[in-house]
């Protein structure tokens, strides 16, 4: 491959190729797209958290001016309920039927019960108010621990609220705890949050002449096409799914939503295009939530600080139904439950529990922020118990950098890492203890640390697939690289970026190998009708899996290019290398050909090697051998006002390692956003249902996303430890900040409050909770 290296586009902080259309307001998101003859849809949603539907009167709505149709759950004749993609071998997962429109019973506030379709965006919302639904209320189950213990049931026919049990362990746990001289136990709550992409979800379904085109604000257009075909009973070749410009996802658009299926069904029924865009309050009710665990965590260690065992039992609040990956999420965290530490015995026991709430599913980090929160909080708790410095305890238990690839007690092989180096680099950024010592009078300051790794780049299909972990899919990627006759390049990727800058990152990967300018490399994504297949953008996989497939397709193009050049220059293909933008014979760079000249020869095939096909485009599929394991070290300083309980983050520094940087500017941006996502959870955000199952934080006035005024700027650095898993050496970075930051903040708040006698506190650390903790400690 070294023969193809040229001007180093890889590693440059290039401005993004996608930005001109975005900064000029010329992008096309779902709500910017309308088609001739289009109707509008509105959903009637349950105001009850749990109730039997005794009748639905749609007569008034049907007579409403402009209304074309009103459908209920009884009308939707689908092939199957909404999909859930996890069937772990040997584990029973109870999966109550979940329909786009509830049939007999509603199970959470916001559960859709009817679909109103009409000619005008505003009037369908009016008409939806005239659908009269009679509900017979049933007992409501909201509290996770109560739901787990028994009592009222979310789904009476299941006879239990417990959906499934799943365990991952390794090493001798009993021996580990027997060897422990100190054991610390805590109940750690990781509360429910929203993905809260600023673009609401939306769908435009257009069925005509036997074929369906569905445009949706989704992270997974290829999955969507598959499930539309299966649910509607349409052959897959007659379904095209398009993700247009997508305004953020954070996992909340990694889903097959009932609204997508219902609109497709109705469009086929009415033979009209139909569009729906959620309001924010609708999105808060009915776009999947994340997190929502209670974990009972236990760590054992010797007096001198060697960790001997780590055990956690997780209750996962699933909400009322299982959506695409709902029960899977806590298991993703279990794989890295021991974090960056060499712990001989580790076990995670998970129980999935139904409640009368919106289902949970993947939100940025998906199980790994929860796991990291546990281990990183417990390290600080243990250090306190041992009277040992927190960083010394971490260093004492770090996996030895010389031991990579390192197999953990769980049998997971971490690809590469150097945790002491990341921590040393972090400590060189700022003197956190000095900043702490400068607390103004009346304020308390605390320092928090988090040293983390995560598992991403989903993933090796033989591990994650049906006979392994149990996902009913492969997780490969594919890419096609087409060099046009002019030398311009079009790259088609099966990933579906929605803010991650992959049009630029992938163009840099290709330009580096073809000796062209990334400006002349167009990256096409998000349309099942235009390019190769793929599985979408989530799990920090798009560069490590999608980017690698682009690199491999490009390598095939380079192979062919070298054969063409060798033929024309009467040299051997292995003697052709890329020098200053030309493919030339080693040692005589003057006689080379640019990729455009080679493409010209390939498309006007007068002089190609014997038997060579014309054209210059290649396809590559790639399924990785292993996951990748980004890591890093974060630190922050918080300032607490003990009189009000208010917490300010006054310093935040992070060192992250995702392998060799392709575009450092984009990587830093991913880290910034990830950190603030977790600061949001730690300090401000909470999806809160009251005891009746009513959503209390149902819009952006009540659900407190952090603003620019709530957070600081960041001090970042990187270390670059290549992964041996892919040829780029890269790991994911989209979720890392979110995975690392919530324990960092929480540990800092505890550090600040220790002088007042507070030694443990659970998120969210809003003023009321912090103030109450201070009062309790005083009492």
């Amino acid at each position: 491959m070294s023969a193809t290296a040229d001007k180093s586009w890889v590693g440059q902080p290039l401005k993004r190729k996608e930005d001109p259309r975005l900064i000029m307001g010329r992008a096309r998101y779902i709500d910017d797209i309308n088609v001739t003859g289009q109707l509008w849809a509105a959903f009637v949603r349950s105001p009850e958290a749990h109730a039997k539907i005794t009748s639905i009167d749609t007569s008034e709505a049907k007579a409403f001016p402009g209304v074309q149709a009103v459908f209920t759950g009884q009308d939707l004749d689908l092939e199957a309920p909404l999909p859930m993609a996890w069937v772990p071998p040997g584990v029973e997962v109870k999966n109550p039927p979940h329909w786009p429109l509830a049939k007999d019973e509603v199970h959470h506030v916001g559960d859709p019960v009817a679909l109103v379709i009409g000619t005008d965006r505003y009037s369908v919302v009016d008409a939806a108010q005239t659908v009269f639904v009679d509900y017979e209320p049933l007992p409501v189950v909201v509290d996770l621990e109560q739901a787990y213990e028994g009592g009222d049931l979310v789904h009476a026919d299941l006879g239990t609220n417990q959906c499934h049990e799943w365990t991952l362990g390794g090493g001798d746990l009993e021996a580990g705890f027997n060897a422990a001289e100190v054991v610390v136990e805590r109940r750690i709550v990781n509360h429910r949050t929203a993905g809260a992409a600023i673009e609401p979800r939306g769908v435009l379904a257009d069925y005509r002449a036997g074929s369906l085109t569905l445009t949706s604000s989704t992270q997974v257009p290829h999955f969507l096409r598959l499930f539309l075909a299966l649910q509607l009973g349409i052959s897959e070749d007659r379904v095209r799914a398009i993700a247009p410009e997508v305004g953020g996802g954070f996992g909340s658009k990694l889903q097959i939503y009932g609204e997508e299926i219902a609109l497709a069904w109705a469009s086929r029924k009415l033979e009209r295009p139909i569009k729906w865009v959620e309001s924010r309050s609708e999105g808060m009710l009915a776009t999947h939530h994340g997190r929502d665990q209670i974990a009972y965590v236990k760590i054992g260690a010797t007096r001198d600080g060697k960790i001997t065992a780590f055990h956690t039992k997780i209750l996962q609040d699933l909400g009322a139904y299982l959506m695409l990956l709902t029960p899977t999420i806590p298991s993703l965290g279990a794989f890295v439950m021991s974090g960056v530490y060499d712990i001989p015995a580790v076990q995670t026991d998970i129980v999935g529990v139904f409640t009368n709430k919106m289902p949970t599913d993947a939100i940025r980090g998906a199980g790994r922020p929860e796991a990291t929160h546990m281990i990183e909080m417990m390290i600080d708790q243990l250090a306190d118990e041992l009277g040992m410095d927190r960083l010394e305890l971490r260093r004492k238990n770090f996996i030895d950098p010389a031991s990579f690839p390192h197999e953990t007690a769980l049998g997971i092989v971490y690809d590469s890492g150097d945790y002491p180096k990341a921590l040393d680099t972090l400590l060189a950024l700022d003197d956190f203890e000095a900043i702490k010592a400068q607390a103004p009078p009346g304020k308390l300051r605390g320092v928090g640390y988090s040293t983390y790794t995560e598992i991403c780049g989903l993933a090796p299909s033989r591990v994650t697939g049906p006979s392994g972990f149990g996902l009913q899919t492969g997780l490969w990627e594919s890419a096609m690289v087409r060099v046009h006759i002019t030398g311009a390049v079009t790259v088609y990727t099966g990933t579906s970026p929605h803010g991650q800058g992959l049009e630029t990152t992938m163009a840099q990967i290709v330009a580096q190998r073809l000796g062209c300018d990334p400006q002349n490399v167009e990256v096409i994504h998000g349309d099942t009708g235009t390019g190769p297949q793929g599985l979408g953008t989530y799990g920090s996989r798009s560069t490590a899996v999608g980017g690698e497939s682009v690199a491999r397709a490009t390598a095939k193009v380079v192979d062919k290019a070298r054969q063409i050049v060798a033929h024309q220059l009467e040299a051997a293909p292995e003697d052709i290398e890329l020098i200053d933008g030309k493919f030339a014979v080693k040692g005589s760079p003057d006689k080379g050909m640019t990729i455009g000249e080679i493409a010209g020869a390939a498309y006007i095939p007068e002089n190609l090697p014997e038997g060579m096909e014309p054209g210059l485009e290649e396809l590559a599929f790639y399924d990785p051998e292993n996951f990748v394991f980004p890591f890093g070290a974060h630190a922050c300083v918080v300032e607490v006002d003990p009189d009000t309980g208010n917490v300010d983050v006054i310093k935040y520094a992070a060192v992250d390692d995702c392998g060799p940087a392709i575009n450092p500017k984009i990587i830093d941006g991913q880290v910034h956003g990830g950190i603030v996502h977790a600061i949001g959870q730690a300090l401000f955000e909470r999806i809160h249902y009251n005891e009746d199952g009513q959503l209390v934080t149902g819009n952006f006035a009540d659900y407190a996303l952090p603003s620019a005024a709530d957070v600081p700027s960041f001090d970042l650095d990187r270390t670059e430890t290549p992964s041996p898993v892919n040829s780029l050496g890269v790991k994911g970075i989209g979720e890392a900040g979110t995975i690392a930051a919530s324990p960092c903040i929480t540990n800092a708040v505890i550090d600040a409050l220790r002088p007042l006698g507070v030694s443990f506190i659970n998120m969210p650390l809003g003023p009321q909770r912090v103030w109450e903790a201070i009062q309790e400690a005083k009492a």
Partner: protein, 156 residues
């Protein structure tokens, strides 16, 4: 619905007029009646600021104003800020400093930032952060947005 009324306003320098429902929101007038889809809707409650435009030179949230209330006004949207090859300094700065990721909040962020720089051409970091508190971004963590606004103010 309850009749219609005619509204006329100057949008990005051109006079635009239409018969609209009295309840039509300004943001929908801009997006759907005029086809200026660069202004976005993110929350419906004036919290996110994706719908920020300028009305008579000041930043307002067009999701909480009726088109009728803007009758006779001068409106500037993101489409009126700059074009290919002639970007507004804030557009240049957001691009240069990676002040956007998914881009959905970006038009509102640029309009709110432009409003700030009109009022306070040389803000410090804290003033930028306070001025943008009504514009939410989920992607960038604000770091590069703040950097971009400060850079644009330096360049001016």
């Amino acid at each position: 619905m309850a009749g219609s009324l005619r509204v006329t306003m100057t949008v990005n320098g051109a006079e635009r007029s239409a018969e609209v429902e009295p309840r039509l929101l300004l943001v929908h007038f801009l997006r759907e009646t005029l086809g200026l889809t660069g202004t976005h809707v993110g929350c419906d409650t004036s919290n996110c600021g994706a719908c920020t435009v300028h009305l008579n030179g000041e930043a307002i949230k067009s999701c909480t104003l009726l088109a009728a209330q803007a009758d006779g006004a001068e409106i500037t949207t993101i489409e009126g800020m700059g074009q290919e090859g002639a970007l507004h300094p804030l557009q240049e700065a957001f691009w240069e400093h990676h002040g956007l990721q998914c881009g959905y909040c970006t038009p509102g962020m640029i309009m709110a930032s432009a409003d700030l720089l009109q009022r306070n051409p040389k803000p410090n970091e804290e003033e930028v952060r306070e001025a943008l508190a009504g514009n939410l971004c989920r992607c960038t963590g604000y770091h590069n947005i703040v950097k971009a606004v400060l850079a644009a103010s330096e360049a001016a």
